[in-house]
Structure formats: C-alpha cells, structure tokens
Amino acid sequence: MIELQNVAMSYSGAELLSDMSLRLAPGSFHFLTGPSGAGKTTFLKLCYAELLPSAGHLSLFGKDVRAMSRDEIAGLRQRIGVVHQDCQFLDHLSVEENVALPMTVSSRAPDMDQLRELLNWVGLKHQANARPPQLSGGERQRAALARAVIMSPDVILADEPTGNLDWEMSLRLLSLLVELNKMGKTVVIATHDLNLIRQAKAQVSARVLRIANRHLQAAGADL
C-alpha cells in the first residue's frame, strides 16, 4: 500500500530523515512518535506525496511516486485521507461543504444522506451549517476526520490530531480512528502523546514506530 525503501529526505542540504524502510500493510494501525522536530510531519508528507524523497524508493499503491504525474498524485490523495493538526479548512464554506470538499473537487455530487450520516457519526450534525471558525478544537478535528474519510480512503494519516484537545475529546477522536481501522482502513497517527498510544493499544493491535536521530525504529517495550 505505502512502501518506503531506504528513503531519505533532505532540505537545503540538511538531511531530515535518513535510510527509512517501512511497509504499511492494508488494515494495519501505526503510531508514529518522537520528539518535536524529529520529522513526523515530514514522514507523513512523504506518505501522501506532498514531498518527494531525496533518496531511496517510495511507492504508493504499487506506483513509484517519482513516476507519477501531478494529476495522478491528486487522484491518489482521494485514496489517502489526511487529518492535520490545524485542520486546513476553507473558512468561507460551511462545515458540511468542507466535509464534502473531496467529493466537490472530484466533480461528484455528495450524497446528502451519506453526508448527514457522516456528520452524525462524528457528532457534528447540529453544526453542519456553521463556519469552521465557529467550531471548538475538538469539533474541528472531528470535522477534519469526516472530510478525510468521506471518499472512503484506504489509508488515513493523522498528524497530531489530538494536539489541541483535552483528554476526553482525544479519546473520542481515537475511538473514531479505531473504528475506522476495524472497518479495514490503514491508520497512521503521528503523536507524542504516549498516554493516547497506551489507550489505543488496549483497543487495537497497533505498531508503534519512533523517529529518532533521523531514523525510523520500533518503539521500546514500554509502549
């Protein structure tokens, strides 16, 4: 699905990630942890081809990412749902329109019943017509998750999704991600919240990876 072989990533001559190899199997659940600035976000950006590796081989759904055209990459992002810490909403559109955005950009009319069901699933049915700035942090994250899954992607990448949330809201978001994984979706969560990882491991078989000194390694036994 997503496969990295000896991938390195440099920026302005400085190597940010080095010699990374990983295969994300369908239906797997991964946590990516490490200190701030370790390169978790960079790693996720490689996984949805916002960045290209400076060395090594990266394939997405069996295709070499370097050989993909811009349109192919755009099409591929409809198979990868991304949840950012800052959510990246279009503030002039309603929550409902933001959630339906992946369908809009692929010129597909959203199924309103499905859209309402999705908003209901993330607990935002009552906020469908609100603008993103009117939402709380937790609501924004759940709206971002709804947007990430509306195209029924194979992979969900979440970058510090609980960074701005209280513990209760973090657990609620985690349970949604676990639920998606149980539906067969591959989930990768970048987080430095070890309590969240422990909580997840109690619910799902998750693999924990750690980025340290530019390298990817399996996390310690305490996780």
């Binding site: 949805y48 916002e50 755009a74 591929l76 992002r77 990246q88 955005l101 992946p102 809009t104 010129s107």
Partner: protein
C-alpha cells in the same frame, strides 16, 4: 451604486465557491476590462474611420483630375475650348466641367475671405475631369495638351493623393495596433490580478491539493471567475464607448475628420466583438497565471 457593484462582483455558485470572495481583485479586473473595452471602442472607431477615409481618397480621387489653364485674358476662351475639344476625344474621360466664378470664389474663400473680386484677379481657369473606371492615359493627355493648349497643365492628384492615402492607411494600422496593445495590456493586468488572487489564496490552494483537487479544477475555479468579471467589465466599457461615440457631432454637421470618427450602418456591430475578445483574453491570462503558479505547489 454599492448594490450594483456587489451584483457585478458577486462570487459565483457551484465549484467556483471553493475560492473565497476577493473583493479587491474583482473590482480591479472589472475596472480594467471596462477601461480597456472603452479604449478599444475608440481604437476600433479610429481604425474604421481612417479605413473609410483611405478608401474614399483612393477611390474617388483616383477617378478625378484637374486641368489648370493659365493664359492671357484674350487667349483664355480659345485655350479652354481647345482643352475641351481634346478631352472630348480622349478615351477614359467620362465628363469634364469648367469651374465657374462662384466655384472659384468658394475654393479661394478660406484663404482670401468672402469678398474676393474674382474678376479683377488673373486667375487661371480650372476644368474638373471625371475619369471612367478604366482611367485615362495621363502621359498621352499631357502631350496632347502641350500641343493643342500650351497653357494647360493636367494634374491627376497623384502627387498629393498618395501621401494622404498612405497616411490614412498608417492611421488605420495604428488603430489596429492600438487594439492589439489594448488587449495585450488587459491580458497583463488581468494576469497580475489573477496572480494576486492566487497568491492571497495559497492556503486555499494547499487545502484543495490536500483533498485531491487536480490543477485543472483549481485553475477552472479562478478562470471562471476572472473570465466572468472580464466579460461583465468589457460589456460595460463597450456600451459606454459606443454611447460616447454616438454623442460625437455628426460628420455632416461639421465636416472635419474627427467628427467622422464613428461607426456607420452595420459597422455599429463591430464593437460587439470586444466583450467576447476581452473574455477570451481574461480566460487565457488567468489560465496561464493559474497553471504556472500551481506547478510550484505539490
């Protein structure tokens, strides 16, 4: 006024809604398109008017000539009769007419005033000649006049007609060049406005790319908006330009060149091509700017 402006700058519905409202660039594009279309109407009018002038000078003056007879008063009648006799037997002469005193007065009035004593002045006689469509042999006629009426000089207007026609043709070319420059400047300004809008919406574009939007989709959202604004502005500018041209004094009333700057008959339809051209220019300029900028974003 504000309500009208808000209608003109209103953001469209549907997929275009992914681009947030951008009031400043909307107004800039509308104003630019309107101003350029207004100027384009005048450039078009200039081009058409000079074209008509060049055609008229080239056609009508090409078929007219003048014979000037300078002779002592006692020989004048005989020389005029001799010239007329020559003209009667010259192939290519459709008609000829001796200009009377009143007509001579009329010709000299702009220089000497209305009270010119034509009888007291040793003025030459003028014979206006109209040629047939095939024309006449100017050199042959000159030689015959030299022999039959030595005081007669044939002038087929070639000497002064050619530079006038050339000047009119150049004015027509300048008018057409102005149109090209106007649309070029419009393309440049709309490109800048589109670039400003794209730069201001960098985060929006990044979000659209994140959720899988292709370049063509993002570009289309901007292109539609700027094309619509370009078209609306150009329609307004064209209408204003046509009204301004219609309000110019008529050519018959004053007779000067500038008053002939306008459209006549079916040529009033020509300005109607300006809005579609403006829309095409806006479409091409925005698409070019959008795709160029999008290539920098993964």
């Amino acid at each position: 006024m504000r309500a009208t402006l808000s209608i003109l700058t209103a953001e469209t519905t549907g997929p275009d809604r992914v681009v947030p409202p951008t009031g400043f660039t909307a107004r800039l594009t509308l104003f630019t398109a309107a101003a350029m279309a207004f100027l384009a109407v005048f450039a078009l009018a200039l081009s058409l008017a000079t074209g008509r002038l060049a055609d008229r000078w080239a056609d009508s003056l090409a078929r007219s000539a003048t014979i000037r007879i300078s002779a002592p008063p006692e020989q004048m009648e005989a020389q005029v009769a001799a010239v007329q006799e020559v003209l009667k037997t010259t192939p290519g002469v459709e008609s000829s007419r001796v200009l009377g005193d009143e007509e001579m007065k009329g010709l000299l009035k702009p220089w000497f005033g209305p009270d010119l004593p034509v009888d007291a002045l040793p003025l030459p006689k003028l014979i206006a000649v109209t040629e047939t469509a095939d024309g006449l042999d100017a050199e042959g006629l000159r030689l015959r006049l030299q022999a039959e009426a030595p005081g007669a000089i044939f002038d087929d207007h070639t000497r002064w007609r050619r530079p006038l026609v050339a000047a009119a043709e150049r004015l027509r070319m300048l008018g057409l060049m102005s149109l090209v420059l106007i649309f070029g400047a419009m393309a440049g300004m709309i490109t800048l406005a589109a670039q400003a809008a794209l730069a201001a919406n960098g985060q929006v574009i990044a979000t659209l790319r994140l959720v899988g939007a292709k370049d063509a989709f993002i570009a289309r959202a901007f292109v539609r908006r700027f094309t619509t604004r370009g078209l609306i502005g150009a329609v307004a500018g064209t209408v204003l330009g046509m009204v301004a041209i219609a309000l110019l004094p008529s050519a018959e009333a004053a007779g000067g060149f500038l008053t002939g700057l306008g459209f006549s008959g079916l040529s009033w339809l020509w300005p109607l091509i300006i809005p579609p051209i403006a829309a095409i220019v806006a479409f091409a300029a925005t698409r070019f700017a959008a795709l160029r900028m999008l290539r920098r974003i993964r």
